[in-house]
Symmetry: C2
Subunit: 208 residues, 2 copies
DNA sequence: GTTTTTGCACTGACCAGTCAGTTCAAAAAT
DNA sequence: ATTTTTGAACTGACTGGTCAGTGCAAAAAC
């Protein structure tokens, strides 16, 4: 009789949930939440429909937990990039650059999750709206923090609008990365990173 | 989105289609395509369900025509901004700046359309995928054109990656604008524009 | 008199969620 | 060491409801 309590060792339950996450993320990225049926998710995961409901209270709960899981990974990766730069004695601009790279690497590894996240982020009137807000704020806060520190130590102009600039940076990375995936997947990460770095550092339109 | 033009006198037919576009765009932006029913669209437009099918072959055809219509407006507005700057003897960077403003103004006027567009753009496996590609390319081409001209006349660095930079600019505007709408709607367009301008002109992290 | 809209009943496919029953490995009893 | 019990995990047929799309006669608009 297995108690399957903690996250330790593994346990069958957790493995099944993982399979369901993986199946759901690609299907929902391709088709959207409403167009994806629970039967499809179960089939792709190689599991009976009942198992989905044994593991998750409903289709939308499965989706919400999937969102939390994915954004958790992203936030950790951004934070890690910022801290690593800090330890290595880099500037705040270096930290932003490292975070751009971490963002690109994440999107490259989990393209389906990113698609799904973007598609749902600005929808109103949906059950998981609040989950999404919380989780968004966690990720954006990491970037805002670095920007604020940069302003504080004089490295960045104190005229910048922190929340808007953070949003713009996220958008830059997000859209460039999705376009890379969708329309020129043969390009390397370094390539894409270099292009965005140039934009961040004002080497596109040079200043007057 | 439009009052009632298209080939002179227009007529009743066109007015009905217009009402259906307006009803569909907000509903689909809020709920997504699959979660929005034809009955809802008809009701919001104040029209009988039969009328929807008298005017459009199917739900997805209605949606595709809506996409074409909306992106047409955006492209025209971007092109107009670029040409106006040209006439006034502005630089290419001025043209990019004017296009950023035009993009913000568009998103401000048609937030629902923008939400819906973003949500569908990177989906694969959908009927209207090809429509979306064509229409995306039209809009991005306007920006790429200006970038290329800027590189040609030496105003912009010839190291920039035109398609990637164009995508990044689109993303910057898109995400910043949607965030503005969703999380700080009290800000003025000028305010948001100034923040993005600063980023474009490298006045955030200054160059070395 | 032609075009467009209405209202409404109808169909057939599809789908979220349920539930009675099965499986199986570990625990308890012998 | 063998048999029996237990219960968490899983199964898949089934239900009740929803929805895209149809058909059509009558009314309204032009």
């Amino acid at each position: 009789m297995e108690s399957s309590s903690t996250t330790a060792g593994g346990g069958r339950r957790e493995a099944t949930r993982q399979k369901l996450y993986e199946a759901a993320v690609t299907l929902i990225a391709e088709q959207g939440f409403s167009a994806t049926t629970v039967d499809e998710i179960a089939e792709r995961a190689g599991v009976a429909k009942g198992t989905v409901y044994y593991n998750f209270a409903s289709k939308s709960v499965l989706f919400e937990e999937l969102l939390r899981h994915g954004v958790g990974l992203l936030t950790a990766s951004l934070r890690e990039a910022a801290e690593r730069t800090e330890r290595d004695g880099g500037t705040k601009v270096d930290a932003l650059d490292a975070m751009i790279r971490a963002g690109l690497a994440f999107i490259n590894r989990y393209p389906a999750f990113t698609q799904l996240y973007v598609a749902e982020l600005w929808r109103t009137n949906r059950a998981w709206q609040s989950t999404l807000m919380v989780v968004r704020q966690e990720a954006v806060a990491v970037i805002e923090g670095v920007l604020r520190e940069g302003v504080a130590n004089g490295e960045l102009s104190d005229e910048i609008d922190v929340p808007l600039t953070a949003a713009a940076l996220v958008g830059m990375v997000l859209v460039a990365a999705l376009d890379w995936q969708a329309f020129q997947p043969e390009r390397s990460l370094d390539d894409v990173h270099a292009a965005l770095s140039r934009l961040l550092q004002g080497r596109v339109s040079g200043n007057r």
